[in-house]
């Protein structure tokens, strides 16, 4: 990905210089190797700190909502998965396509710093990405891990490396390739459990929720100006999970509100400070939608209806839920 970083630094400089774009949305380097944060670059000089590495997981498309409200055009770097979100934002008129210039960038799979820590890397000062390996230089010595073991969940089940929308591409042939896993396996496992088991599973997970709203605020689909849960007049406002019902309620409704719109970008799970597998809620809806109404991939295109804004007269009845066995 270093090669791509050099390519996009150069291209961003050119595009700023020739006036094609007025600003650049990318990632800037941080204190450590693993903490680049999204940033807007307005000068060619500032591009020196533009980074792109295995920790540039934070998706940029949602930032375009604000960025395209400004005068002029913004250059944005979109990984393949981010292009789905971008398409979705276009579809819902959140982002002005005219004001964006998209460089689709190749991706070698994003890394999960938490996984590295769990694998035993303590006090990580810097990291080297070396092909199929990741080397962590820590306060307590160097440690090498298989890149695959350190991949984010969302990357393990990557939807594909094809960019759905772009103005130009920046890809390199030295990108690490990996075999993806079926994203519905875990959902299927849960479906196979008894209701009591499922209930305990979800209670265990959702009871950790601290209602920081990171899942919601990072979600490219959750782009309401004011969420129902923040609105004192909605009748369902809840700033904190006062009890287990509210833990369930927030996550059921959030998943429902993004049902048919969620492209399964996995940001919700990535950003969760308590590591709750929120993507399993969204994937359940996606799996059901595919089974009930035909395969649908949100964000594959920038127009058309989504499964919950259309219908077919021959749709399955809700009673299908009872027919699927189990109590």
């Amino acid at each position: 990905m270093r090669r791509i970083r050099d390519m996009i630094r150069g291209r961003a400089g050119e595009l700023l210089r020739d006036g094609t774009v007025n600003r650049v949305l990318g990632w800037t380097n941080g204190e450590f190797y693993y903490d680049p944060n999204p940033a807007i670059f307005e000068t060619e000089k500032s591009l020196d700190s533009l980074v792109y590495n295995g920790f540039s997981a934070a998706m940029l498309s949602k930032y375009l909502i604000e960025a395209t409200k400004k005068e002029g055009r913004v250059l944005v770097f979109l990984k393949p998965c981010d292009t789905y979100s971008f398409n979705h934002l276009l579809k819902e008129h959140k982002v002005n396509r005219e004001k964006t210039y998209v460089i689709g960038i190749g991706c070698g799979g994003m890394l999960d710093i938490e996984k590295l820590r769990t694998l035993g890397a303590k006090g990580i000062e810097s990291i080297d990405e070396e092909g199929e390996n990741v080397v962590a230089h820590t306060l307590y010595g160097d440690k090498t891990f298989a890149r695959r073991d350190a991949l984010l969940e969302k990357c393990l089940s990557c939807k594909g490396k094809e960019h759905k929308v772009y103005d130009e591409l920046a890809v390199a042939d030295d990108l690490w390739e990996w075999e993806t896993v079926n994203r519905f396996t875990k959902v299927g496992e849960l479906e196979g459990m008894g209701p009591g088991e499922r209930f305990s599973f979800w209670r265990g997970e959702l009871s950790r929720c601290i209602r920081c709203n990171a899942c919601r605020n990072a979600c490219p689909v959750c782009s309401c100006l004011k969420c129902v849960f923040d609105n004192p007049r909605s009748g369902v406002q809840a700033k904190a999970n006062a009890d287990s019902f509210e833990e369930n309620m927030f996550h059921i409704i959030r998943a429902f509100h993004v049902a048919g719109r969620c492209s399964d970008c996995g940001e919700c799970s990535r950003v969760c400070p308590q590591n709750i597998p929120l993507h399993l809620l969204n994937r359940k809806f996606i799996k059901d939608i595919n089974a009930f109404y035909g395969e649908y991939q949100a964000g594959a295109v920038a127009e058309g209806k989504s499964p919950l804004t259309e219908y077919a007269t021959g749709d399955v009845e809700p009673s299908i839920v009872y027919e699927r066995g189990g109590a």
């Binding site: 819902e92 004011k226 969420c227 129902v228 009748g235 369902v236 989504s306 919950l308």
Partner: protein, 661 residues
């Protein structure tokens, strides 16, 4: 703070026998903001209503709950009562303690407890009610009819006779539509022109009817009662005001190569032409593609011969913008193309024709002056085979899944007319089923068989082949379980009919929904068959589904009566229980727009002031005159910006809370 009065009805013993109305009266007094409660034998009687009116005045009530029969029964009654007493009618809630309580429960304790809970839920909801006011919109007293066939003409005449202005927009140079092409009509065999032409004349002469022929609808905006429509009046090349209809130009036109659309391409016409003699208006048009003057700049004969100086080559399309209160879609139909049916050799053999072509051949004003002659050699046919259901009831390829409805009858008519004119010509009809529901229809078909000796063969034709100037028609005779081959001189295909292709773009323009076959869908298949789900848009004739002339005329009249009903109002009172967008919450996602069955939601860029932030945002706007209040949008809206007046999120949740308390 509300002041609520609760009125409990005994409904004689209907309620009072199972519900302890006194106990309910007492119990509801503990509910928030209830300042008064009472019960009465018959709340809906004058005595009961006056008790309500008095209490409203005496206690200064801001809202009332009536615990009585179903709201479907007397909600309107009590709303009126409230209005008389100066209360907003939407500050009335009904607790259904009869149909949904006293009538279904036998135990008095149980029924009383439930009645209290239902009353409590109604109070809880009422506490969240706000006065609602129905929006009013003026009605433009003019209707637009799109399509000038028999459906459009009939609708226009009926509306105009009621005293309202009607404009007809017809895309061809004349009104008359498909019916004008027909020879005779079943089952009475009266001549189509004889019954249609007077109607065409009536329409053109009617002081309230304005014809825009050779014109098309370009765009539309607005809503029921107040549509604004742009009509493109295509350049005729002839000034209608000056033209006397003498026909000299048509006679002298040197270009004769264009196929006559009216005669189904069976003969030619000039570049300047009128489709048929009785055309209305009787003003020719210049076919730009065929005209030598337009193609080469030379010629100009018509201009020279026109003594009225009506020819105007420089004429340009004109856009006319007008307002209408109601719009009727009467876009009609056309037969499906037969070219892809290789087995019938339609494209290859001139003597294989469609039924509509056969109509023209039978017609005295047609290409053969009414003599039935084969197109190939102009010889009279001795054997004619009619094939029914060509492209109808088919689930494959280019066919239509529906029954085209009219073919059985016109095929019987054709065979009968043929046998009548030429008794020594044999007529064979291949049929799958003969469908004749209709007044005197089956009798008509039986006459064809019994009196006219038409040979009906149960089966389908599998192959038509030309051999020595004859057509070998191979088909099944299912009753004999035989494959038969008939040596015919002419084959007539009863082609399936489909909506006119222009309907699709009009449907989009008017947000009039269509089914998979591009027929317009009605607001309700049984109860509102001539209305589109979009308010103010009505359906007339074949554009809604296959039908014959009597049905078309009946539906045209029905559509007219709906239009008249609408135009007779000065103002439309909307239903105030409609969706509304809380603009600061709207995130502009368009989900609501996508689920609205009525096209009532549009998006606009608006300045929104949201807690001190001023921003121009894309927000949803509900057209109050169009919204029907179903609430589909409210659930699809993730932010809760869309809410339904009279059934708000908070109201429904208050009911839930009260019931579950």
């Amino acid at each position: 703070m509300q002041k609520i009065g609760v009125f409990i009805c005994w409904c004689g013993s209907n309620i009072a026998a199972t519900v302890d109305v006194e106990a309910v009266t007492e119990a509801v007094k503990a509910e928030p903001n209830v300042v008064f409660s009472t019960n009465y034998q018959y709340m809906c009687s004058e005595g009961g209503q006056s008790a309500i009116r008095n209490a409203i005045a005496e206690y200064g009530l801001t809202g009332i709950v009536v615990c009585a029969c179903s709201p479907r029964m007397h909600e309107a009654t009590f709303r009126k009562t409230a209005a008389v007493a100066g209360l907003n009618p939407y500050m009335v809630e009904i607790a259904n303690i009869r149909e949904q309580c006293s009538w279904i429960h036998k135990e008095k304790d149980e029924a009383t407890e439930k009645a209290v809970i239902l009353a409590r839920a109604a109070v809880a909801k009422l506490n969240r009610n706000v006065p609602l006011f129905a929006g009013e919109s003026p009605v433009v007293k003019r209707a637009l009819v799109i399509g000038g066939g028999i459906a459009g003409i009939q609708t226009a005449l009926d509306v105009a006779d009621a005293g309202y202005e009607v404009d007809i927009v017809e895309k061809t140079p004349t009104i008359g539509g498909k019916m004008a092409m027909l020879d005779k009509t079943f089952p009475t065999l009266d001549c189509a022109a004889c019954i249609l032409t007077p109607k065409m004349v009536d329409a053109s002469a009617h002081e309230k009817i304005n014809l825009y022929t050779y014109s098309e609808v370009e765009s539309v905006s607005g809503f029921v009662g107040n549509f604004t429509v742009n009509i493109r009046k295509r350049a005729r090349g002839v000034n209608s005001d000056l033209c006397t209809g003498c026909g000299v130009c048509i006679e002298k036109c040197p270009s004769k190569g264009a196929k006559s659309e009216f005669n189904q391409g069976l003969c030619n016409r000039g570049a300047i032409y009128i489709p048929f003699a009785q055309a209305i208006p009787n003003v020719p048009v210049i076919d730009h593609d065929a005209c030598i003057k337009f193609k080469t700049g030379k010629c100009g004969i018509c201009e020279r011969v026109c003594t009225a100086k009506a020819i105007d080559y420089a004429q340009e399309d004109e856009i006319i913008t007008k307002q209408y209160g109601a719009i009727v879609l009467a876009t009609g139909f056309k037969p499906i193309p037969m070219e892809m049916y290789d087995e019938f050799q339609y494209a290859q053999c001139p003597d294989v024709i469609t039924s509509l072509e056969f109509e023209r051949i039978c017609n005295a004003a047609g290409p053969t002056k009414g003599k039935v002659l084969r197109p190939s050699d102009h010889e009279p046919p001795k054997t004619v085979v009619f094939v029914q259901c060509v492209g109808s009831r088919a689930t494959v390829d280019c066919g239509k899944t529906y029954c085209s409805k009219i073919c059985c009858m016109y095929t019987a008519k054709h065979a009968m007319l043929l046998r009548e004119k030429y008794p020594d010509t044999e007529a064979y009809v291949f049929y799958i089923d003969v469908r004749t529901p209709g007044k005197s229809f089956d009798e008509f078909y039986r006459r064809a068989v019994e009196e006219y000796g038409v040979h009906y063969i149960k089966g389908m034709v599998g192959k038509v082949a030309e051999e020595d100037g004859c057509l070998l028609v191979q088909g099944s005779d299912l009753i004999a379980d035989k494959q038969i081959t008939i040596k015919a001189d002419m084959v007539v295909l009863a082609a399936a009919i489909e909506p006119d292709p222009t309907a699709r773009s009009l449907g989009t323009m008017f947000t009039a929904s269509m089914d998979t076959n591009d027929f317009f869908t009605e607001a309700h298949p049984k109860l509102r068959p001539v209305e589109s789900p979009t308010a103010g848009i009505f359906l007339s004739g074949l554009c809604q589904g296959p039908k014959d002339i009597p049905d078309t005329v009946a539906q045209a009249g029905a559509a007219a009566s709906k239009v008249i009903g609408l135009l007779s109002k000065d103002k439309l009172m909307g239903n105030p229980c409609i969706a509304g967008c809380n603009e600061p919450l709207c995130n502009g996602c368009s989900s609501c727009e996508l689920v609205c069955a009525y096209g009532a939601i549009t998006y606009e860029d608006k300045l929104v002031i949201d807690h001190g932030v001023r921003e121009t945002r894309r927000v949803a706007c509900v057209n109050e005159a169009v919204c029907q209040g179903c609430g589909a949008c409210t659930v699809t809206c993730p932010s809760g910006a869309m809410d339904l007046k009279g059934f708000t999120n908070l109201q429904i949740m208050a009911e839930v809370d009260a019931i579950c308390r």
